[in-house]
Amino acid sequence: MTIASTTQQICFAVLSTTVVAGALGVVLLPNVVYAAFLLAGVFLSVAGLYLMLNASFVAAAQVLVYVGAVNVLILFAIMLVNKREDLAAIPGLGLRRLLSGLVCGGLFVLLIRVAFTTPWGSGPEPVGEEATIRIGEHLFSDYLLPFELASVLLLMAMIGAIVLARRDVFSQDIGTGEEVDQGLIEKARTPLLLDRSAR
């Protein structure tokens, strides 16, 4: 047992524990902010696992995209609408939890079975530092169409978000059905802190 392999095993144990515990926390914690922060931890640990597989470019991309962009946006959305109050009680919550627990447990058993029955080979040699070049070559040759399609999808999502966010696109307010004052797009017509039901 060399120092390198011992370090590797310790790292793997720590990272996989973090992934499993973090993912369970994301699902089970009632506080949505904690769940979002734990999700960042899970993404970071997955990046660590990629790093251990000699895929440093994929690891860095994972951190940049999932932690730096996706997770920050999730947190942004949570904090912009955060009210710090408990969720309203849903009827039949116990039954719902039991059902979703059963579904998840079944899926877990299925995956475990697949993992044990699949003959795992050693897989292709990791290319290491060459990976960046190799990924670039693939993106511009055999994966060109999926790559371009993904960018078209993202463009559509972006245009959709802009249309939804800009109120002056519609002549009526989607929420209240009132006429939109085109001159005052930046200002809310009712002060945010007033109770709307009093009108």
Binding site: I3, A40, F57, A60, V72, F76, M79
Partner: protein, 386 residues
């Protein structure tokens, strides 16, 4: 820990690779009778500790410069009693923060409140991994190099959001949200500016980026080939560091101190440390990407040739390595000086102006810069790294 010594040459004295302290250290230890693995293990913490100390000392110098330059800008004297010219003032500041009471507000979320500053500081310190001070004078010449820095710096907004949320204070929350928005917006033009440089050097590694700028001394630095990219990168780096004119997340007149409002003592010091380490780091990376890194304005090979010294002689290697470190730090601190001067002479922009500048000006310019660089690379491969 990549040693690039060519086989056959004496370790540590490779002409092309320059001074290789790691190889010299490990051969020395193996000569005493330790195994190769143990020698490597003993070597590992040394560069990390050295860079950590360098980063912290860099912050102390930075704080002193900030105090003195701001004083000069405002026609004051600045600190003068703590040591000669007040050089011990930053140390006194630090000691004050260490001994201050560590307050956690009663209705704050104490776990996230403590974790926030740590998450802000760690990525910044980790990024020093890829800062080269010489051919082999860096902690790790990882292949993804500069991309690692971009990825790590994108973790920081999570720490800011965390501390803003955990403080349970509207100003803190607004500051955290602003910091995250600013950081996300300016990351894109920053990455595009870096991409243009990477395209010219055909590599993400910081060492390769500097090596591509050697050859003709000051004339081969990237700033002449990437003037637009240099300006974009510098503006974005200032915005990422939250320096004036982009210090909106902690704008005193509007937000008290943004996400730092509720922090005191060492937790506040972590933010302080993080922002200054980040400033030095950004300045170092500007010098690596655009100002030739450790390169002297005249190639040291020419100088050694004129003096009739072989470039691979041990004494010459030590001298060139020292010159390299001095040049890197000198370039970085020139940029830090510029940043401090900007901070004390420019007014703060509004949040809408900030986002307009990022999305409507810098992003298109950075895209055009990338396109032009690609075109020039195809047209003049000799000058733009074919």
């Amino acid at each position: 820990m990549v040693s690039t010594s060519a086989p056959g040459s004496a370790p540590g004295l490779d002409a092309a690779a320059g001074l290789d302290l790691q190889a010299s250290f490990e051969t020395l230890l193996q000569g005493v009778g330790l195994s190769a693995g143990t020698a490597h293990l003993l070597w590992l913490p040394l560069p990390m500790l050295l860079v950590l100390v360098a980063a912290v000392v860099g912050v102390l110098v930075n704080v002193w410069l900030e105090r003195k330059i701001s004083a000069a800008v405002q026609q004051r004297i600045g600190p003068e009693y703590a040591g000669a010219l007040g050089v011990l003032q930053p140390l006194a500041d630090g000691l004050k923060l260490v001994f201050k009471e560590d307050i956690i507000p009663a209705r704050a979320d104490s776990l996230l409140f403590t974790l926030g500053p740590v998450l802000v500081l760690i990525p910044v310190i980790l990024s020093w991994l890829v800062v080269p001070f010489g051919q082999n004078l860096l902690i790790s010449n990882v292949g993804v190099g500069i991309f690692l820095w971009i990825a790590l710096s994108s973790i920081q907004p999570i720490g800011l959001l965390m501390s803003g949320y955990a403080s349970n204070n509207k100003y803190s929350l607004l500051g955290g949200l602003r910091a995250a928005a600013q950081s996300i917006s300016y990351e894109i033009p920053l990455a595009l500016a870096v991409l243009a440089v990477v395209m010219m050097s055909n590599s993400l590694s910081t060492v390769d980026i500097v090596n591509q700028q050697t050859g003709a001394g000051i004339l081969s630095w990237n700033i002449w080939r990437q003037p637009v990219g240099f300006v974009i990168f510098w503006i974005c780096a200032l915005a990422e560091c939250e320096r004036l004119p982009f210090d909106l997340p902690e704008a005193e007149e509007e937000l008290v101190a943004g996400y730092q409002t509720e922090y005191a003592g060492m937790k506040f010091a972590l933010f302080y440390l993080g922002s200054y380490i980040n400033l030095v780091l950004s300045a170092l990376l500007v010098s690596v990407l655009y100002l030739g890194g450790w390169g002297f304005p005249l190639p040291v090979e020419w100088l050694a040739g004129w003096l009739g010294q072989p470039i691979d002689a041990p004494a010459v290697q030590v001298i060139t390595a020292s010159v390299g470190i001095v040049m890197t730090v000198l370039k970085a601190y020139l940029l830090v000086f510029l940043a401090i001067l900007l901070r004390w002479t420019t007014p703060r922009v509004r949040i809408d102006q900030l986002l307009d500048l990022g999305w409507k000006f810098l992003l298109p310019i950075a895209l055009v810069n990338l396109l032009v660089t690609a075109g020039l690379k195809l047209a003049f491969p000799a000058f733009f790294g074919g």
